[in-house]
Symmetry: D2
Subunit: 340 residues, 4 copies
């Protein structure tokens, strides 16, 4: 796995430990909850960094996957795994690389995390912070607003949920479906604090539309909403309009149903959104399917696979949010390169 | 209002009546449910069409708004309407055109409908059909899958809901909030039939991500999901994986929780998705707000305004779906221009 | 004719007289040298300007061509004019709009001049000035560097050449070819002063490559070079390297064979380049050709046509230079919108 | 050095020997004429190829530079080499990586040649062939049209000139300037045969404008023209219009001053163009310059450097031509992926 990060401003000090730590948050095998394959993800930068700082050149990198076993894929190279991309890729391209690490593998999110780590460093200099967390696993969900939780607790448990009680329930549910060779989905919520008003572009470049596309590009994502999202229809305009007031000289609003974005442009309040993820499609039990020739057969995954993507999706959602917000800040000229 | 449609293939016969009809579906004033301002939307094409056919050149057009009254905007030119884009635009650009018809006005969707009508004509030649409908208004929602409704009934009522009983309830709710000077939101669902397998691009150009961005770009949109979307977390992998089988020689699946898209690429099944809309922010009642100088005041809209965008959003969702799918088909080479 | 100018920063005061004047510089019929069709080009802005200032929204505009006579094109609608785009458009699109004003008509440069005028205003605020001039018509050419001419004399004659003696020769040559129903080409040179160091992007976004593409997009353009360009091969490295020195604390160079661009990035010196134009393809004399069916025939243009594009190309080259430089300045963050 | 090739169609058989051979044509050290540093360029593909065929996924690759000596750059890390990009990069980015292999190094053309080799393979399947050659070195130039040479002789001499007599003169000139620690420039001409009519986009995507930008992006390029280019002004319209005739049922033209492109779109005739290159800026003799602090000093390159880029530019021009033409063919739908 690897890639090229383009458009990064020059002069950013790349803290290699932080980059590696972000990569580790994504890694499977962190706990009993996720697959214990030790993918041994070590990032190596090939370009774009000189004496620890970005030069403005594209940042090339590779992340070697030392433990990958191509043989694992030999058995299934002609099978269409249900609800995977095998069939659609074969149809689109007429050829398909069955080995892991391809573009439809969850492993491609390695690159997102590397880029996201650098974007987070750049945003940190602007006092912009991003925090995602598991807000639902199966039918267990957080009932309250993110304001009512201490988001610092997120990393204190392996499901990355800031409510310890719910976290324990989620963990138990994941163990249960895992024992059944099954899988389960969930929802990741995310808050972005410190974004100045004025980020986002009208009509087809709205901040929430681009954020939505970024989130929906994550493997297994099924939905995106921001502010009061899919609950918005339950409120009348008079109930959920965010009324402006003069907060000691600063124009602000007492509520934030808008999710920090109005007309596609940030208004300076917290940006908050949700991303729905389906259950992992790979199951450790027999499933009916067909092979490339159309013969009906069954498939059963081998090895260790995640029964739930939600804990690992938390850093990926943060990474995509960081990349998206930094892009908008750069095109809105808040970041200035070294030109007089 | 007006715009330029770029990238339309040559040789498409533009049925002007159909274009005008699609524009009329979007228009306010179609019924008691939506504002009765007769905007008199008449499209005039300025380029790109010769003897009734597209030439491959950009299609320029204008849609005059004969009934617009700039005076309506004079009173509010220095006020920040709650949950509108007034504040964010002023902050971003340092200048704001308060007259209707700007980029943050719902009127910009006129252009989407013109482009969508031409895209629909092109898709129709490929036997691709798009049908959206109101699936929720306030807390009134359709409980069943789209398969269980006759979508041909959609246009038979003014809320554009294929269930006549629910439609009547929705209509009553809209009347109620309107009488209170209030507004209400809802959900538009959409089905795209006939898309061949292979449309969509991996990683950052996934079909559902681009569709999502297109839908989230519509004014008042708050969320997007596809397939089983935000309900996906409630199912285990074994419950909602779509199992392939051999359907008399054709590889197909018995279910479609995937929403016709796997790994970001169409699989030939119906593509279905939902878009959540908030209640209209403009209210015919007093709301607290501030002016540009930060003085606290109240605002109350004049004239006639939609109490619910859902009925009018139906053709807009269809238009954006048509544009998006046609774009993907063009880049996937199914449409061939007149080259030997 | 018309178009949309996207990406213009907000807050630019649009001097309508200046815009119209720039448009008039492009217009045919300014003198005996160019066709006297009075195209009556009057620009009307449809969006993006409020109370005389740009709002940051796309600037839509139309320029009506009141004197166009569609009948002029009826006779030639099935003929392929030699060295025009009739044949290639017909082959590419399978349909062709024979009326003037299409995308392959020189009239499309109207839009370039409108956008260029606004870009010039924005650049003027940054003390960036652009001056083009005719440096060659037929075999009559300026022998010296632009430093050796008073470029303020450029507009003092109808060929827009800063050397009055050469201008008279060029004018005589144009009259001669015109009398013969023939046409002649030439070269436009351009100097951009005041561009700060640091504009341009490495590898595929080099300033001179993007400038080159912009110039080559002008109808009838056949070549582009910058600095010592096609003469560079005649010099050794030791002869034409620009040696840096310390100019009272400022790093500068005594020569500028680089044309103000090194490694694709501006170095703060004058940017200078040339654009070659072929003779106008439309001739007021019989030429052999074929019609769409392949029948051999002759064609002879009617009406009044330019015998030489060079004088009118001068403002077009300036317009494209202004648009290109402003784009680079905007992406390089020298221009800051109204965000705190 | 390395990169990612995006947008390559699936199913192309990648002949590794051919790719390596193309890379070798670019390599310095092929002869006494170019620097004998053996860069040991071996391409390694990291993704996008499976069992010898492209999969449609991005093709990642690296080309290791085993002989690079970073110490060579230590001495000059604070000096601004004349007519190099050192000063502009430092000014733009505020930081500069002085080691070879950066984006302003001629070594970046390694990646162009890898991508170009694959593009050539794809074009070969469409019977499109590309041939570049040295047409000028210093003041020694080919006087005749490319029709009058046997271009198959191009690779028979180390300057890559199809005229053996001129080749010997060019070679002698390069030896002479080399002996003087100096360098010399030249012109590369290129012919593309077999491109179907209809490639290229109007207005801002004209084939010659995009080709021009591609060529001008090559290090040391100073100019581009096509067809009769900078000689066009010397001809009247009646002399250089390409007259259509009926060539046994096929519409063709007896001349090709247009260079195979009319209105920015290919007409089916040979596409031919020229690229001017300046003398290499790195000299094996003292040159005046300044360091980053503005102190005046001298610089003299060490090691072995090319005295003339022209022979090595020949395969680079071909590579960029192949990439550009393939891109246009792909967007014009002549290449069809494996979709039914």
């Amino acid at each position: 796995m690897g890639g090229i990060i383009d458009g990064c401003p020059s002069g950013i000090t790349v803290d290699m430990d932080f980059v590696q730590q972000e990569l580790n948050r994504r890694r499977p095998g962190q706990s009993a909850l996720t697959t214990s394959r030790d993918e041994g993800d070590r990032v190596e930068f090939l370009s774009g960094i000189y004496q620890g700082k970005t030069t403005g050149a594209p940042i090339g990198f590779t992340v070697k996957n030392e433990n990958q076993n191509s043989a694992d894929y030999e058995d299934i190279k002609d099978l269409y795994r249900p609800s995977h991309a095998d069939y659609t890729y074969q149809t689109k391209y007429g050829i398909r690389d069955p080995r892991g690490g391809g573009r439809s593998s969850a492993r491609e999110t390695v690159s997102r995390c590397v880029a996201g780590a650098i974007a987070k460093i750049a945003l940190h200099q602007k006092n912009i912070g991003i925090q995602a967390f598991a807000s639902q696993v199966g039918n267990i969900r957080l009932d309250k607003s993110y304001h009512d939780y201490d988001l610092n607790l997120t990393e204190s448990n392996i499901v990355r949920c800031p409510d310890p009680v719910k976290a324990a329930e989620m963990e138990a549910l994941i163990h249960k479906v895992k024992a059944e060779g099954d899988s389960v989905g969930g929802v990741v919520s995310c808050v972005i604090r410190g974004v100045p008003a004025g980020i986002g572009e009208p009509v087809f470049g709205k901040l929430h539309a681009v954020l939505g596309a970024a989130m929906l590009s994550i493997p297994a994502a099924k939905g995106f909403d921001y502010g009061d999202g899919f609950d918005a229809p339950l409120y009348t305009g008079s109930e959920h309009n965010d009324l402006f007031f003069n907060d000691n000289g600063i124009i602000s609003a007492r509520t934030n149903y808008s999710g920090g974005i109005q007309g596609g442009i940030s208004n300076g309040q917290d940006i908050h959104f949700r991303v729905a993820f389906k259950a992992v499609a790979t199951l450790l039990r027999d499933q009916l399917t067909v092979d490339r020739q159309g013969n009906e057969t069954t498939i059963k995954a081998k090895g260790r696979h995640d029964p739930c993507v939600v804990p690992r999706a938390v850093p990926i959602v943060e990474a995509m949010a960081a990349i998206t917000v930094l892009d908008f800040i750069l095109i809105t000229n808040l970041y200035r390169p070294a030109i007089n």
